[in-house]
């Protein structure tokens, strides 16, 4: 029988989404609903001397105006949920609305509740806040310097943490190294820009004490937990519903002040309350990504063997530690310093800094792109120093295929890999030698062509819960599923993860339908409502399939085992004599003695004739906690032409060969790679969130922040190899973040390769025409 596993069936979530029948949070309307708006600080750092809301309160249609002083006793401050150990982590209180001081442009100052969105806007304009501006500090390295303005009275010097990763003897390796290279890298701050802004609709029923909160969430169970803490409500009286979610990319993981504020207002007023960000608000009030200043160095032998890596990294956390903020630039970053290579000696020191900017948290890749980028830039720089081919230097240092599982110097164990396999395939697709010849020829004509290579691996499928506890993650990292079979044999599967574009309503149905010998239409996947889904930890860290999908598979297998017991009983046969064929249990050798799955579902649900000891009903729950993370990998190649007159970078070809283990739906996996790579190319060429020295966000709207457009982006060429993971029974890994992790390094390596003849070694992303042009001018000036 053919299986659905591995086939590119069309997505089951699409019919509603292409007809306008999806339900996003802002689509939810409730009787008696009123609207909330939040007044946000226009200053990066200021004392609040006075707030006068009299005029706003007096406006017809305004129900209430709340300020920080109204909340101090009612709400527990916004928690940070990643209590990074051994780092002297400082977590100053994060009030829902600022009291005494604002600490970034966008910090909430007051909340208005009114009968319409328009009245909310008018009322916000009428609130008068008297600020006394203070000095801002936006650069994480500068924030730690003596004399920098201090954000939090109880965090001297703005240092949130100092975290060290070490393995081997890096100082020793550098002391006796034949070759050393160093770079200073700025990881541009990015705006996640999920196309759907955040939104919340809260409805509190004072009669039952129940709060229902529709929220744009990648992890509704985490939001239930944190909301119950913030609002001081018993957790079983909080219901989070995360319906269709219009992208997240990490920005819908955290617990924000805003959603809790909306819930608070509903509890106070006894009316349902809706709040929806507009985009400019989203750019200030929703987390940002990246923002590192990195001093990095690599040492090795003249023969091209890498012997050590050392880093000092200043990571901006923004004004407050967001939910996962401290874990992203440390655990998800520093532990990956070995990349795809056998690097025996590693040392990294990461400083977390509070700055007067929007909080920084997980953005697609979260820590891993910043690691891959510095490693892959260093390896290229090393190769150039040696005069060696960057491809060959990589090959020489790869972890060999027969050495997996392989423990790197930072202490983590990679599950499986075949790095040469993806590299060779990518080189073949490009005709690498041919391109090098073309490049040399073009250079003679004064044209600058370049090729960039990135061979990455990454840590995902987060992850074993025991490890979560050890690294200070404030939750588990198992995931869950309930497979419920109805009397007619139709199946609903309730999951603890929360897909929001990744297609698991389809791929998880493929898993279950295969198990039961069903067409995929007979299986529905349900996610997002904490009242009917089992405890889970959500969708991020490319974990949904590897962890949540495995729970689905195990639950389906449990259901099938029970159905088999019932079949044996009804067929008066021994269970051992049954075989599963063509969607039926049949007695081996007597194909006419058979029971199909749907018939067994009916018999289990009516329970007229159950064997002794077997309970009625046909459903099972599974919680799957993996034994390790999974480590997808791949080789990306990009060729570019740089126009030396204008600094314009044109991508000629982009080739991505990825290995994410076994693939359930190739079409969906390709889609994930497309989106991820384009986000990485955006990071490399055009995206940057810019603050001026006063802490004003200069890229505060979509007019100024360059989200990639179709006309700016290349056609991608994709291929795969398949190296199953031994960590889970389906042999799957993760693919949601690989593209973003690989692409920025690939593109910047290509541009630096193109401009190497001018003596240019490194340019910080994003490589806008102005930046590249300036670098070329500097190089020419230097040469003259």
């Amino acid at each position: 029988m053919s299986t659905l596993f591995g086939s590119s069936i069309k997505r089951r979530e699409d019919p509603r989404l292409i007809t306008g029948k999806g339900t996003f949070v802002d689509d939810v309307s409730l009787a008696g609903m009123v609207y909330a708006g939040i007044l946000r600080s226009p200053y990066a750092h200021a004392k609040i001397k006075k707030i006068d809301a009299t005029a706003a309160r007096g406006l017809s249609g305004v129900l209430a105006v709340y300020t920080g002083a109204d909340l101090t006793d009612a709400l527990i401050p916004v928690p940070c949920a990643w209590n990074l150990p051994n780092a002297d982590l400082k977590l100053p209180p994060h009030p829902h609305l600022a009291v005494e001081k604002v600490r970034y442009v966008g910090d909430g100052v007051a909340m208005v509740i009114a009968e319409s969105r328009a009245i909310v806007r008018d009322a916000l304009d009428l609130i008068d806040v008297d600020y006394e501006p203070l000095k801002a500090v936006v650069n994480p390295e500068a924030a730690l310097k003596p004399g920098a303005p201090v954000l939090h009275a109880d965090v001297a010097g703005n240092q949130a943490f100092k975290w060290v990763v070490a393995g081997g003897d890096a100082d020793g390796a550098f002391a006796k190294a034949e070759v050393k290279v160093a770079l200073t890298i700025k990881q541009n701050r990015l705006l996640p820009t999920a196309m759907e802004p955040r939104a919340a609709v809260a409805s509190y029923n004072a009669g039952t004490g129940q709060l229902t909160l529709w929220a744009t969430s990648q992890n509704p169970h985490i939001h239930r937990f944190l909301c119950s803490v913030m609002l001081k409500l018993p957790e079983h009286r909080v219901r989070i519903i995360s319906p269709d979610v219009g992208g997240g990319f990490g920005s819908k993981i955290p617990a924000y002040a805003d959603e809790a504020l909306v819930a608070f207002a509903s509890m106070k007023l006894g009316r349902p309350v809706k709040w929806t960000e507009d985009r400019s608000e989203n750019y200030k009030a929703t987390i940002h990504g990246r923002d590192h200043v990195q001093y990095v160095e690599l040492c090795g032998t003249k023969a091209g063997q890498i012997t050590g890596i050392r880093t000092t990294v200043y990571a901006g956390l923004g004004a407050y530690a967001s939910t996962a903020g401290p874990g992203v630039p440390t655990i998800l970053h520093g532990l990956m310093y070995s990349g795809a290579y056998t690097i025996p000696n590693i040392h990294g020191t990461i400083y977390g800094a509070y700055t007067t900017t929007t909080p920084v948290d997980a953005y697609r890749g979260a820590g891993r792109p910043e690691a891959t980028y510095l490693i892959e830039r260093l390896v290229d720089t090393f190769a150039r120093e040696l005069g060696a081919d960057p491809v060959e230097v990589r090959r020489k240092n790869f972890i060999p295929q027969d050495k997996f599982p392989y423990t790197v110097a930072t202490g983590i164990t990679y599950d499986s890999g075949n790095y040469e396999g993806t590299l060779d395939k990518a080189l073949g697709m490009l005709d690498y030698k041919g391109f090098r010849a073309e490049q040399a020829k073009a250079l003679k004509q004064g044209r600058f062509l370049g090729v960039g290579v990135c061979t990455y691996t990454e840590i995902c499928g987060l992850g074993p819960s025991q490890v979560a506890g050890a690294i200070g993650f404030g939750g588990g990292l198992y995931d869950s599923a309930i497979v419920r079979v109805y009397p007619t044999g139709m199946v609903r599967v309730y999951i603890g993860t929360k897909p929001h574009g990744q297609g698991e309503e389809t791929t998880f149905a493929q898993i279950v339908a295969d198990e039961f010998g069903y067409p995929v239409e007979s299986v529905e996947i349900v996610s997002g409502d904490t009242d009917n889904t089992p405890q889970g930890w959500g969708t991020y860290g490319s974990r949904t399939t590897a962890v949540g999908g495995t729970a689905v598979k195990i639950a389906a297998q449990r259901v099938k085992e029970k159905a088999k017991k019932l079949a044996a009983h009804l067929l008066e046969a021994n269970e051992r004599d049954l075989e599963w064929k063509d969607g039926k249990f049949m007695v081996r050798g007597s194909p006419d003695k058979a029971k199909g799955f749907a018939e067994l579902a009916l018999m289990a649900n009516v329970a007229w004739n159950m064997p002794a000891g077997l309970e009625p009903g046909l459903e099972a729950t599974a919680f799957f906690d993996p034994s390790n993370f999974v480590y997808p990998f791949g080789a990306h190649l990009c060729t570019v032409e740089v126009d030396a007159e204008t600094g314009q970078v044109k991508i000629l070809r982009y080739i991505a060969v990825d290995d994410c283990g076994n693939v359930i739906n190739p079409m969906i996996v390709d889609g994930q790679v497309h989106g991820g790579v384009i986000q990485g190319i955006g990071e490399a060429l055009q995206e940057i969130a810019i603050y001026d020295d006063d802490g004003q966000l200069l890229t505060g709207t979509m007019m100024d922040y360059a989200v990639p457009k179709a006309s700016q982006m290349p056609h991608l060429e994709l291929a795969r190899t398949v190296t199953p993971s031994p960590v889970n029974p389906m042999g799957v890994k993760g693919v949601g973040e690989t593209g973003t992790i690989a692409a920025a390094a690939t593109v910047v390596n290509a541009v630096c390769d193109a401009l190497a003849p001018l003596g240019i070694r490194h340019i910080d992303k994003p490589l806008t025409p102005a930046t590249v042009w300036a670098a070329i001018q500097r190089a020419k000036g230097g040469a003259a």
Partner: protein, 163 residues
């Protein structure tokens, strides 16, 4: 002060009381519960709010409801006819032209407008035509494939699938 406007949407007449400053997208969503039209920005960049106004792709976040009076408006809800998907909807489904689906209604309507004026666009023409519609999920590649597939279907015998 509110005033009454008559809007023709998806072939049906509606009379709504709106503030003169009300945007068409707000009236569609909040007054008429046609929530398939989305809002992704406040500076007219993203195209999530795109509807057809007399057949032409128009950003409903940049159109006052009062300006739409007397025009024929098509939203994503009005595209499938008698349970049959429009070939463009079908092509987005076939080619995996959407992930989260938030940009999709606006994207589909812009692409329909494109094929009206250019029934056989090149890849570059497609990419240029959808510059005003941002998608953060798909990287656009499968959207391009979807438009190409729809162009073929709409030029030849329309391939239609039941929703």
């Amino acid at each position: 002060m509110k005033r009454s406007v008559s809007l023709s949407i998806n072939g049906r007449a509606h009379s709504v009381d709106v503030e003169p400053r009300a945007l068409l997208v707000q009236v569609l969503r909040d007054d008429l519960y046609l929530t398939g039209t989305h809002i992704g920005c406040d500076t007219s960049q993203c195209g999530a709010c795109t509807v057809l106004l007399d057949g032409r792709a128009t950003k409903s976040c940049t159109t006052l409801a009062v300006q739409a009076e007397g025009h024929e408006i098509t939203t994503i809800e009005g595209l499938a006819q008698g349970g049959e998907l429009h070939p463009m909807q079908n092509a987005f489904w076939e080619k995996h032209g959407l992930q989260c689906g938030f940009c999709t209604p606006g994207m589909i309507l812009s692409c329909i407008d494109l094929l009206e004026s250019n029934p056989d666009p090149s890849e570059a023409e497609i990419r240029h035509a959808i510059e005003g519609n941002l998608c953060r999920c798909t990287g656009y590649q499968n959207i391009v494939s979807a438009v190409q597939a729809a162009a073929v279907a709409m030029r030849g015998a329309p391939v239609r699938t039941t929703a």
